[in-house]
């Protein structure tokens, strides 16, 4: 069973905490569905998904060694 660790940042940490795991996820599309089931508040939040430090815009395959991060809109500076 593949277990993927997700790290969250910014305002999303209020919903999910800094770090959590999700089981049996094969790609970023299924991740998104599963995430919003597990954390319904995420549905009305804007965020990007990064896999191995790159923001992905298309569905991307995941494996146990993938580093997945949820990034809300940036507010540096």
């Amino acid at each position: 069973m593949t277990q993927i660790t997700i790290i969250a940042f910014g305002q999303l940490t209020d919903i999910t905490g800094n770090r959590f795991t999700i089981d049996n996820i094969i790609d970023t599309n299924t991740l998104k569905i599963q995430l919003e089931e597990q954390y319904p508040l995420l549905k009305n939040r804007k965020y990007a998904i990064a896999v191995d430090e790159q923001i992905v815009s298309e569905n991307t395959l995941l494996n146990a060694s993938s580093t997945v991060a949820l990034l809300p809109p940036f507010s540096g500076g």
Binding site: I7, Q11, A69, P73, F74, S75, G76, G77
Partner: protein, 150 residues
Amino acid sequence: MTDKKPKNIFVQGAIAASFIGESIYKHQTQKNIGAHSIFLGQVRSDVIDNKTVTAIEYTSYEAMALEKMHEIRESIFSKYSLTCMHVYHSLGTVAAGEICLFVFTSSAHRKAAIDACEETVERIKAELPIWGKELFEGEGYQWKENSLGV
């Protein structure tokens, strides 16, 4: 991509005025420089729903931010004729009135330094995974959102 390791840009807490002064001083030996451009971001004490922002607490996805900053640096150096560029951004808590971002570009003539500095600041705000949590006086907070150039 180059194989150079990305430079660290993060400073814990506020960026001290003395550090900024020291950075300027260090460039005296580089006599091919004719212009410096400096941008300083300062934490503003906004009032939101009658609550005053007393500090911003910054967090970042550091590995990704440093990688991205490296890309920005490469692209700015290929676009402008710069002698050097230095970027520092705070992490952790920075009180209102303190400096949280320091961008410093130098070139032989002013236009390159000024334009490169401006573009770097805009790209930092838009592209680096950094988040600011605005802490209110007393208690409570709200997550900051960057506006575009306002």
